[in-house]
Symmetry: C2
Subunit: 660 residues, 2 copies
């Protein structure tokens, strides 16, 4: 049962799609103090949720600030990441879910200030709070997901493996990647184009010096089974003669400053204006531009920098430079030195920018900081809604860096700019169930790590985790060590992992569809299926995947194995390559399992089995006639499949029963 409580004058975020009659009684469970919501926590209570946030599956013990933020250097003491997903489930004396539908800055102090209190503080008290009672975590999630509407389904090819790097500068770089993968015999479905493909980082342009014939390249690649997926950034470069800029100015589609002029921020292209994605007109206009690229044969996009990230604004930069002059007046001391370094270091991503521009909504100027967390959501929506007109019959791949609940209906997300750190494997995994709770189903982390230098063993272990996530992309930052799989000596072991991924795609895609259609989670904490098992509730480095699998990846350097907890008897599956499968039944309980660096392990749940097809070079070559079942005997599995591309999801959906 969902209860809705309205405070002040909430902005209509469009996060939800179902009407819920507001309650006029006081909110249940939580105490509302006038400006914050408080819950007393008992020692063993668990708080799940918050989607893309740091720390563990149980969110207790930190202060989280949901405020979409470009923070590639995130650590344990980070408070804000790229997305804001204000949904929690509390397992306390009461079990309930709660969604704070608030598009501005909102703080979740979950036992940070006081271990026995959860305090939720929105910047202003204008919000809707939805409180969900349910019989279990899974039941609460189902109700919540029905409230927020069905999640986005990408084309099936998006479940293939993709290679990306900021730094593929021209057609030959792209061809080299495709060729090297082909030569290494590693399956590949997509190559991503980062900002390098554009002409001076202008959205919807192609640099013709370096990409002379994008249409030809896209065609050539598609003939090899490889989709090109270009990036689109939020900011539109200010450059006389650039049609998107000029049209946007002329038609008033950009965010305004207090004086009513188009607001100027600086990002990769230099000075930019920001489309006012919160208006239907700007959304439709910006979205229509994607046709520039779809007309060249492009059928997938990633939307970036849409928090929106702002490196600096002209006035703050000028202030800072003037201030340096003052600080340097004669003999700079230590205080002045740190004032200078803090000031310069604080320019990139400074929050002050967000108070300086406005959206024009129904004729009213709305300060950006009041609706900040909706920006990336509506950029993805802009793309998705437009592509429904441009390509009405075909699904297009979209995923975004920034998001808010509601965006899950329009695209997937990648989990932001991470690092080549072992701890970021676990962090990515711990976000998965929280993202699924919030509706984000097509998700994945930059495999191998975006920033910093990867290592061969890190890449192998990361592959062994990411091969289970719907979005499976290897991505890295300009200037870091190259990490295409063919760069490593153990390329054969890496190929084996990608082959296994392709063998698993029928299962992964089927479970993705089932969870999406059924408003369920594809990835769940072990405790969601075993709420009465204290050991299961403690597990924070294993997940159930669909109804049949449990994953327990290795995320520590030099580990030759790991501990696992089985809440039921399960079948351990070991695979060193696509066709070597060793299985072993293990009893309920705690176990240590040996796992070599070149070996994948996962578990099949008691009495279950999964379909595996033969490996193939591309998803387009996957042959469902080659399916064999792996798992317990006398079991059955209902496979969901469709043509993988039609917009009408029910049109070609088949449910095929396999027996083992």
């Amino acid at each position: 049962m969902i209860s809705k409580y309205t405070y002040g004058e909430p902005f209509n975020t469009e996060a939800t799609v179902k009407f819920v009659e507001p309650s006029f009684s006081g909110i249940k469970y939580l105490k509302f103090s006038g400006n914050e919501f408080v819950l007393d926590l008992l020692e063993n209570d668990i708080v799940y949720g918050l989607g893309e946030q740091i720390r563990g599956i149980n969110k207790r013990g930190w202060k989280y600030v949901n405020w979409n933020y470009d923070n590639p250097h995130h650590h344990e003491d980070t408070n804000s990441l790229y997305g804001s997903h204000n949904f929690l489930i509390v397992r306390s004396s009461n079990l309930f879910g709660v969604f704070f539908d608030y598009p501005g800055k909102i703080t979740f102090d979950i036992g940070y200030t006081d271990r026995s209190k959860m305090i939720i503080h929105p910047a202003t008290t204008d919000l809707d709070v939805y409180l969900i009672d349910g019989t279990s975590e899974k039941d609460i999630v189902k109700q919540f997901r029905e409230l927020i509407g069905m999640s986005y389904v990408p084309p099936m090819w998006a479940f293939g493996y993709g290679q990306s790097r900021w730094g593929y500068k021209n057609e030959d770089d792209v061809r080299t990647v495709a060729l090297k993968y082909e030569e290494a015999g590693i399956p590949l479905d997509s190559i991503y184009l980062d900002i390098d493909y554009m002409e001076r980082y202008k959205d919807f342009t192609v640099n013709l010096d370096r990409f002379r014939d994008m249409k030809g390249l896209a065609t050539e690649m598609k003939a090899k089974g490889v989709h090109l997926v270009p990036i689109i950034d939020a900011g539109v470069k200010i450059e006389p003669g650039y049609d998107v800029y000029e049209e946007g100015v002329r038609k008033g589609y950009f965010c305004k400053n207090e004086a009513g002029e188009d607001f100027v921020g600086a990002v990769w292209p230099g000075k930019v204006h920001f489309p006012d994605f919160l208006t239907p007109e700007a959304r439709a206009w910006f979205g229509s531009k994607y046709e520039v690229l779809t007309s060249l044969g492009i059928d997938g996009f990633w939307n970036d920098m849409n928090e929106p990230a702002i490196f600096y604004s002209e006035d703050l930069l000028e202030d800072a430079i003037n201030k340096i002059g003052e600080l340097n007046n004669g003999n700079m001391g230590i205080d002045e030195f740190f004032a200078m370094t803090d000031m310069i270091g604080g320019l990139n991503g400074n929050e002050a920018y967000y108070d300086k521009f406005y959206h024009c909504i129904d004729g009213k100027m709305v300060k950006h900081s009041d609706v900040h967390n909706l920006y990336g959501f509506n950029m993805t929506r802009s793309a998705n809604e437009a592509l429904n007109l441009i390509e009405p019959d075909r699904r297009t791949l979209f995923f975004s860096r920034s998001s808010y609940i509601g965006a899950h209906r329009y695209g997937g997300i990648w989990q932001g700019d991470n690092k080549s750190w072992w701890s970021h494997i676990l962090q990515a995994m711990q976000q998965l169930p929280a993202l699924n709770m919030a509706g984000f189903m097509f998700v994945g982390a930059d495999t191998g790590g975006f920033g910093c230098d990867t290592t061969e063993d890190l890449m192998l272990r990361w592959l062994q985790y990411s091969m289970f996530t719907p979005l499976f992309r290897n991505h890295s930052c300009n200037g870091t060590r190259f990490q295409e799989l063919y760069q490593f000596k153990t390329v054969e072991a890496m190929k084996n992992m990608i082959d296994i991924r392709y063998r698993l795609i029928p299962y992964l895609y089927s479970e993705f569809l089932k969870a999406t259609f059924g408003n369920e989670m594809m990835f769940r904490p072990i405790g969601f299926d075993y709420p009465d098992d204290r050991d299961a509730l403690n597990v924070d480095d294993q997940l159930f995947l669909g109804n049949e699998l449990m994953i327990a990846p290795i995320y520590k350097q030099n580990a030759n194995g790991r501990y696992v907890y089985l809440p039921e008897e399960m079948m351990l599956v070991r695979m060193n390559s696509a066709n070597e499968i060793c299985t072993e039944i293990m009893p309920k309980g705690h176990h240590y399992i040996d796992v070599s660096l070149y070996e994948l392990v996962f578990f099949i749940r008691s009495g279950k089995s999964i379909p595996m097809c033969d490996a193939a070079s591309h998803t387009s070559e996957l042959d469902f006639d080659t399916i064999t079942m792996v798992g317990y005997g006398s079991s059955r599995y209902v496979l969901y499949k469709d043509d993988g591309i039609s917009s009408d999801l029910s049109k070609t959906l088949e449910k095929i029963e396999y027996k083992n």
Copy 2:
């Protein structure tokens, strides 16, 4: 057996104390290519060592740069920390130890560039390499430790619990800390004074406005059983009229720039000169100044900023500010913006400074960067050697931030500026055995974390780890959340942990003395005692402590227990408070154990027992007549004890046998 190989013209670091005849044959095991040393690694080889460095107990899979560096923001991709300890043990087809006695920058690529190669690259090929064959890791360590000389032994009171914070600004702040600990009934042996106590950060001064009577305060505190431990920084403030500065200039004790003038860097005091600790004259002079404080009743010091940290130099700062002017010439673009932020961000700790000053050694100008890693070592040596003259009969507490092998004879170290991160508990623990290998016995990490905001649960878990380390200090940075134990609601649980520490001091101090006298490790990887047990070799989050204990702390948030591997039957000890002891015999093998947040667990090895005395408010009140034995029946323990203060370590040493 130790073999010594000399390359080029090594600088005499004084890391070693025993003469070893140089070998004239080529080096064993390693291949020397002319400028680097290479070893082929097999899949399961293990590389131990490197002292204070990042990553796990097995150092494989990263590139470490030993170059003493002030890096409070260290993560997985850090290469350099505060100390440089160039000693490794390789468990490969051969088992051997190797020490690269080189005081400049040296890189250890241990399977980073190529997983199957270890490549050691000193910046120049002027070094001694000591190669040690032995029957076991423990045997190799013993030989190495004999080579480098006996480790420093602090006064016994240094094993008490200490409270520190950058931010105790005056006498009343200090009194408040002492009083609040007293009121909470929490044992306390020391309060640390950070740079706040000095007059404008000038070494060997006391700010008389805020510390009117340091001698009175020290006396008052000592009457309460609390020692004041002030900080001493490496840089000497340039200020006409300041005697230390003027004398140093007059006598030529400071490092020089290329023109032969005293080199100027900027640190906390503003512009400073750096004493040339590499000369005996400057060491004796600077060391003699400690008497300013010992004459006030001070008997312990921590030496900081002695990498040496340099925030900026006048010329690079001026260059940077001029460059900003150029970059801002008209219309700053993105490239210019990042050039500016990188340049300003790169001023603090810039390596270029170390090429700009010189030591004068035996009349020869030696560029600082060639001997950089020796600076902190010789600062500690300066203090220790001087105090041997000032207080010849009494041990003084010294520990340093920066170090090199050799410094272990003169003082302890704390493990540098860390963060209030869960991962930094494990990181601190993983450094312990590597530090012991390198001779550093009096060691410990800033408990609760120095930078960032701590949480109550983090502090509890950190206490449950740090209570086993010789140096046990709670320290935090100005501006972070207060973390004195009385600041928390669970102060009672925290008191229980400190009480237990005091009960353990007889054992900890005894094992410290045994290991120090015997050139053994107090903290060892499990594999050092069980080299034939593959599971034991894999363990990287448990340590043997002395001959009787195994520690296995909890270092994950919201964990209600952990996995442990017992390579032999052991006794699990659970303590919720000083006098609640529950024991349980557990068989060899893998186990999951439940551990509440308020509970300490550790293990007593098969057939062993340990002495525990009654808890006391201060080490001075510990009563060895209250010793009871905990552990296996029919076991005995030989306790090493002395008066805890005499410089002559043998004078009052007793060995007392206890039976259980």
